[in-house]
Symmetry: C2
């Protein structure tokens, strides 16, 4: 049971492993929003790569979430703030979603045998699932426009450390080792550790500090979103 | 004066900055070997991407170095062990060189306005040069077949930290922050920190532990290799 961490969707092809469970990570904020959505009763989500595809779903009567560069795209129902999904109006709904990075990562991993959604919000649920499945694990960080980011890496490092230290997983992958080292430095105060990080600053400018604090608080939404065909559903 | 770190040649295009000095890094072992070569009197080097191009230079009477997967390619004069260049026979020579990762990184950065070669062996020389030039700096890690590696990242973090803390450079780049954090953890014993790293293990299997220790020992070769047209020369 080997673990690898892929820092960007661009690099996914180099890491593709047909036996691995792919954990897609976009802490700020797509996978945190998706986790929150299922916890609040959303039935299905349809991740799509482009705003054009999202518009088609909208035209066909779906509830649709669209975010680019941290902001909700005009004319859609939701962005990728988790708080948008803490609302009775989403309950029982199927929601199409496109985001700057998170849904691009899901798209990149399309050939994987199994794709699950990871965030600090469902951290222990992800760990329990991976321990039970006993398969190779590939963490796919969404990053920011195919550049490395810290928050996704920290989450990968948190889970990798737990699996390696306590459950017999192993790694020969430097990006996994780096993620684990970084999490060791960050774990006592993730918010403070990310003070100078690029995306925390990007979101702070958009007055989204509340989102950041929420997304970094573990285990508020114990659900596991998983891809089934073109849909995300709750396991 | 901003600093960015690009972890792999694959990602270079996302980081390309026409104003930046690009520092190419392949600690184990291409840029360490190149630094050692110039320190030992090599006049010029010609980095080439493929073994085929290297063969052409060989056919035309050049001394040629070729390495793939850690080993010297048969039929060539040198590999990328720095110890191969500590030899009177290289003095005054022009040497063509192709390696698994390092020369691919140089190739990727071809459009840069200035490319220099960095390694722990010429660390302070690189720092002095960047402080004097006062330009943006882009560290380009060679990695391993377009995957992240630890040793190149540590070197980038070492220099970035020095420039940011002492010389007014700045960064808004998460990969730079991560590199600096990792160097902070590693700096007291680089060799030990890399104990589980992928390439240290790859080279240990080839009985190259002596190379690793040499490549991690700072400031043994105070020279600065720099690209001029298709040649590397000593500044």
């Amino acid at each position: 049971m080997k673990i690898e961490v892929c820092y960007t969707p661009q690099a996914y092809k180099l890491f593709h492993n047909p036996n691995a469970i792919v954990v897609v990570i976009d802490i700020l904020r797509a996978t945190s929003a998706i986790t929150t959505a299922f916890y609040n009763g959303v039935t299905k989500m349809i991740p799509v790569a482009t705003v054009e595809e999202a518009q088609e779903y909208k035209a066909n009567g779906f509830m649709v979430a669209a975010e680019r560069n941290g902001e909700m795209v005009k004319g859609f129902d939701l962005g990728n703030s988790p708080f948008g999904y803490m609302n009775a109006k989403v309950k029982g709904k199927t929601i199409a979603i496109t985001t700057t990075n998170g849904t691009q990562a899901i798209e990149a991993a399309k050939g994987a045998s199994k794709i699950i959604i990871g965030s600090f919000l469902n951290m222990d649920t992800v760990i329990d699932y991976l321990k039970k499945e006993k398969k190779d694990v590939l963490f796919l960080c969404a990053g920011w426009k195919n550049k490395f980011n810290l928050e996704d890496t920290l989450f990968a490092g948190a889970i990798a450390g737990e699996l390696i230290v306590k459950s017999g997983f192993e790694t020969q992958c430097d990006s996994t080792l780096a993620a684990m080292h970084l999490y060791t430095l960050a774990k006592h105060d993730l918010y403070k550790f990310l003070a100078n990080s690029s995306h925390r600053n990007r979101l702070a400018k958009l007055d989204l500090d509340r989102d950041i604090k929420y997304c970094l608080t573990p285990n508020q939404c114990p659900v596991l979103p998983i891809m089934k065909g073109k849909f995300l559903v709750k396991l």
